[in-house]
Amino acid sequence: MKVLVPVKRVIDYNVKVRVKADGSGVDLANVKMSMNPFDEIAVEEAIRLKEKGAAEEVVAVSIGTSKNQETLRTALAMGADRAILIEAADDVHTDIEPLAVAKLLKAVVDEEKPQMVLAGKQAIDNDMNATGQMLAALLGWSQATFASEVNIDGDAAVVTREVDGGLQTIKVQLPAIVTVDLRLNEPRYASLPNIMKAKKKPLDTKTAADLGVDVAPRLEIVKTSEPEARKAGEMVGSVDELVSKLKEAGAV
């Protein structure tokens, strides 16, 4: 089985986001960028499937600017076998929408014919939570989103999903799209020798035009603004004081 893992380059989850004063977006110049944390979990799961003998090859794919090479090298250093970069923008501030990402990924799937696509449940920049489901629709494949456990069972995958009421287990026919949630695994750190080895692993570059996909956005960004800030509250000195403040405020 071949597993395809889409990995997105996003602002590091520790960085405090700054909205640009002119409302045109969020400032990404000179900020630390990393692999989307959910995608690290997806890469880890794919590598574990390979280590268990359930997968033979793990291919990482990233869509964005030439800078995404760095993200793909991280995936390769973790243990992915090869990587595909799809250049679809010149400016790191251009976010490719999930529908366009899904169309590009479909083109890659048509070429690579993986049995499973393991994606993140959500990119922590646009917080869309959409790409995997959209790709499943375009391919006509089954989908298992928000996975906290994945087991291959013949030509199917048994996936436990984190849902509002607790956990749901479903069985999906392969090929399938699985999107991963936080509890699926703890991603490994790449070791120095593996980082060196990753530099020699194959990384192909294509463009959106090569794949014949129109990435023009469907959503025009009118403006980006700061959320309303909460005003600072007060510190209380004891539980008694807290109780009386809450009663005064009518909160209990």
Binding site: V26, D125, D127, Q133, Q143, T145, E162, T169, L219, K223
Partner: protein
Amino acid sequence: MAVLLIAEVTNGELQVDATAKALTAAAQLGDVTVLCAGASASSAAEAASKLTGVSKVLVAEDASLGHRLAEPTAALIAGMASDYSHIVAPATTDAKNVMPRVAALLDVMVLSDVTGIVDADTFERPIYAGNAIQTVKSSDATKVMTIRTSTFDAAGEGGSAPVETVSAADNPGLSEWVEDKVAESDRPELTSAGIVVSGGRGLGSEEDFALIEKLADKLGAAVGASRAAVDSGYAPNDWQVGQTGKVVAPELYIAVGISGAIQHLAGMKDSKVIVAINKDEEAPIFQVADYGLVADLFTAVPELTEKL
């Protein structure tokens, strides 16, 4: 304009709060038809027909729709889409599973977690864990969106809309349900509770997390948790509050032993009153708290439980 609202139906029952909040958003866009889909959905449809502002209820009952599996549910919704300008659902995990699939079947973008409706084409939604709000204008023929329920009030009851039956789409048979693991609880539901008490890594163990539950029970509150508490096994996954968990906005939110990472704040900073109990006076949670108490939770929480 005609709006199709996908009701939240769980095991045949209408989730009134989530559906009624999304209805408030949907009603701003046009005439609302509600779809109730499930293995059994007629009592849900009955309940939906009573919500104020609903013009019509459609009920689709079929075994394939029983567990909101994405493939048959998305096929059903996409097949009905041509009659509507907007397809709307509350931003639950079920809807987040299904709606992007619907959108892609229609070759349109999805709008996730909408928090504001500017006009029929223009919407606000949080990005970067709520650190920025984006206003976007859609050029798509059909707008497919999920509504963040914590920002809309629930529509009332008092309607009596007619109920019609529709048939399910063909089930592609790509997936099957195996089991649900759902913890039964008498506590209020997290996303609709008036008070939420949440615990973090500071609780230190699953046994001690009971301190949070005792305080919650005293207040008739729901229980929430940080990611660290869930990852450590102190609390179940469906209690996680935050960017990638549930978003809550109760009248009162009490955060205990939670540092206040941006990913956690994303899920609770719109609460009316926030209380933080933490032994570290530098903890960022205090920057959003209305009332902050620097204390050891192991003494402060039992004392608070007793004195409330």
